[in-house]
Symmetry: D2
Subunit: 326 residues, 4 copies
């Protein structure tokens, strides 16, 4: 895109032009993950040349942050290592029962969270978004209900994990800035600039990870509410490019969609058209700082990418710790 | 072990003889994960010959099961695809705010769980168990407290993921049974029998995954409370063997420790000596049925193993979906 | 009712004949609580002759029980009195911050529950049940949605508390049995038998509390799943009687509706017709054993009744500890 | 107090001079609630002259507020009235199972909260605070542990409810201000000024409710974090006065203790000396605006006070909706 942004009508046109409905059969729940073939995985594994692993996830701390739409993640200790010498101490077995030995104790906790939102690193299943009262592949949204969660298009569709080539496109570096300002949407011009700088080409089956430098700005300025202050992200104009290249998954160090968004009818167009139209799997809220440093040092922006969603029955996504193995 | 089980005194002796305290420095929090070098990872990646991925985790459903020491996993939908045509319907944006478009809706949920216990597939961090009022490497247990969780030895120590060679030892198959009965402890004799049948040798840095057939018995008979009915598992007599071979991580399709346990002073000796003495990382409650079938079909029981714990600040472990990539 | 039970068609007829829709205006959310006038409350207060208070609630323990439709109540301690002498102990202030004094510590917890169901003593707001896609007073059910909870007919309608005369009708004692067997539905014959034995008459504005002896059978036999084993309770044939007498609230030591129920179209007819048609407030799962003993001892089955629901914004009910003051 | 505040040494002296340890026996868990005799309750009931009930609690909404030390209250709908016409709608029974009737649906929710803190109206049990490693009556703090919660001094000690005379002391009105500024501690001079203006005298067994006008300032200025901005409240200098008068319970429309506090060794001295030394029951975060208006209108600041804590097994307190019945 050298010049103008697509009009809202043009973006709405993607609902037809980028559609993958029916492409992999009427019952398909995998969407673009179908593009990750065994051959793609074999090639991806061959990228492990150094043997270094780098997490692409933020830490998941039980603290409130700006932009939380819901309660912050929670952690409540069930038992701890405190007071083991106390006279009235209950001997707590690691498995949660009373220990039969005075010498053995354990620690355990309850964790809880709403992983969707702007803070937790997570993957969206294809049941996360509805457009015109349809899910990906035309399924009715009532299949996602209070009692069963997502009885179709759950995250368990990807239960065997997402293992493919990861390509980190460092658009902040390509543009020569520390980070893209909130409201900056990344378009094919940026992506190809980064490809060119890095000597890498996105191809079919890739996990395409966009570095906007948001992790650095969060570290420097503190987290800010994207609904108030905006965030950088994928511009919907990148969707045809991703469709053509055959991306299997996209991620971003902010919340995927650029905010504020110029297309009110679509609200969060990359989520809407990506998930519903294309069946594209999205990963929100990555931390790409460590991976970008490693890539820069090794002069190599491709690696083995793994993401193993929790096998949450009926889940509309999952918190995740995606890895890059260089 | 051809003959007798070790006495309790002998097992207690492992606390000295198998100790890794200080081996990787006084501040080490990685324990046996230190054995996974870049070279080990490179070799592991080279095992991806077919490109098939198989989950090693059970599904994580919000239902009560026998053996739950605490509340079952929880899932509460925050908004769903129900009633999108209702007159009073709130347009719910995927990011958790009200949508500015009548055509866009989303679904989201709260999830919560106590992952330790007998049902959720999870990894134990080295802060999960205390022996004689010490954690691995001699640290005081009060470092694990209610306010901060594990302020040392948290699961975040493995935040960059565990990527290594996985070896599935199918002891049920080696013994020619569908599954090992509860109370059956697996010893080096069994392990070497399985190695021999499978033509594979456990070596330094491996993730060693014990198949007892428990997944099959759970499917056939339904889940049962291991505190009442027992479970098969690793016998503490296997610990010196694991130490000698240099296992980096062990897992089991039941809860790792054989139950009931003959060593009351130790309560769950593989947890106690494994975690506290050896700094060994344990994965409880795997589902190895699919991986065993794949391995049998391919006649290959080694693969690329990945486990990416959630980066839970202060966590004493994490729910997980470990993968085998063949 | 001396003879036959009403037919399903007759019970369905109550939807018309017992309707309070519009009786207190088109926007009314109080239903039968309108019958509790200041004069009724003054009279109720005059019943305090001894000054004894008795709880009418079960204990609320964080344990699983048969009949739980959802996760059991939860309690997770945030900090405790354990290990106050530990070297690494964090000084925990009662208000949840670090204490500035080494001599001050506190204890606190998270509590969570699904109060509706068969175990927790709770009051149902008029937003709890829908019949033919309508709430009490004809309001549309979509007013109860995931984002806001009950945006009409919430429990906060009764936020200033329910203070009135309580009448305990001990039907088990009237029938001369320890408890009514599951499946036994209490009809006007029973109610008038109890009135007669006790020398009391239900009148307008009363809280009518039915003792079936279920508390005793729970204590004796342990709790049982009412969906499997049934429960005693109010028979729908009692509804016209309650309507005529002007009961403001009814309660029961089991879950209000007799189970199994002979009226499949209505599923739980006392809940459906009581709440939706009559605007009657229900209290499920009382413990009436202590109150019945006190009443028997004092030969007085009327008292000051108080129930103060938590002021849960959007709540469809509330856990409660109703009191009898004799 | 006309003049100087007590020194820290003087306040520390209250630990001896105001002690109720042993006063009601070595096993007492009721503390000052012992002062509420049946005669006190009878007299309190006789104060119901009009028959009006007024809640003394704030609304309990699932939203974050400044001063939350922990996650805000949570409400997750389990099923709702949305989409009852949807083709795939699950018929949800009020009791949490699938309904056997297409005409019956229900709504239900999960609620969760940390009630201690600065926002939820709640009562503190005598297990909530420790001083010099002792609870009220000298019990060891380890009796409050992670596994059992408060195994002594739990809120269930008051399970039969607190029913007594309530006296609202409107110190803001007595001082002729809209509200007391944060940091303003209320002393006997203020209390007696209010008594005198209102023509009422605190006497043995009373629930003494201090109105600082904090509810009005919250409404006007929005909630503020008391740890940052302070709050008005009871000055520790009022403790001897409360002891002498025989208050059974005290409450406040802010968080009881004035903040900031001038006595660092005691941190929150009214909590510490009130709860631990005196066995005094505290109610934090009341909303006294409606009650004050009613009292002003009726020219009567005494009423029947009821508080029925949830019977939380092991609870260190309870959320509550205390009532004033005029």
């Amino acid at each position: 895109m050298t010049g103008r942004s697509p009009t809202e009508a043009e973006v709405l046109g993607y609902v037809e032009s980028l559609s993958n409905w029916g492409r992999w059969g009427p019952e398909d729940q995998l969407g673009t993950l179908n593009l990750i073939t065994p051959a793609v995985r074999r090639k991806a594994a061959s990228l492990v040349r150094h043997g270094a692993t780098v997490s692409l996830a933020r830490e998941l701390a039980p603290v409130a942050e700006p932009g939380d739409a819901f309660a912050p993640p929670q952690r409540y200790m069930l038992f701890t290592g405190e007071g083991l010498a106390d006279e009235h101490r209950v001997r707590q077995h690691p498995a949660g029962r009373e220990s039969d030995s005075a010498r053995v104790h354990g620690a355990s906790e309850y964790i809880g969270m709403v992983f969707h939102g702007f803070n937790v690193t997570h993957v969206d299943a294809l049941s996360h978004v509805f457009w015109d009262r349809r899910m990906y592949n035309g399924k009715p949204p009532e299949l996602v209900n209070s009692l069963f969660g997502a009885s179709s298009h759950a995250v368990t569709a990807a239960g065997d994990g997402i293992v493919t080539r990861g390509v980190l496109l460092d658009v902040a570096a390509a543009r020569g800035v520390e980070w893209l300002e909130p409201g900056t949407g990344v378009t094919p011009v940026d992506l190809e600039l980064a490809e060119s700088r890095q000597g890498v080409q996105v191809r079919e089956g890739d996990a395409v990870l966009l570095r906007t430098g948001h992790g650095l700005s969060r570290a420097r300025l503190g987290p800010q509410d994207p609904n108030v202050h905006g965030q950088p992200g994928w511009h919907p104009a990148a969707l045809p490019w991703l469709h053509e290249r055959g991306a299997a998954l996209i991620g971003c160090d902010a919340g995927v969609d650029v905010l504020p968004c110029d297309y009110p009818a679509l609200s969060m167009p990359v989520h809407v058209i990506g998930i519903v139209t294309m069946g594209l799997w999205l990963v929100d809220n990555l931390d790409l700082e460590a991976a970008a440093s490693t890539a820069e040092r090794m002069r190599r922006w491709e690696f083995l990418f793994t993401l193993a969603p929790l096998r949450l029955t009926g889940g509309t996504g999952s918190p995740a710790n995606p890895l890059a193995v260089f």
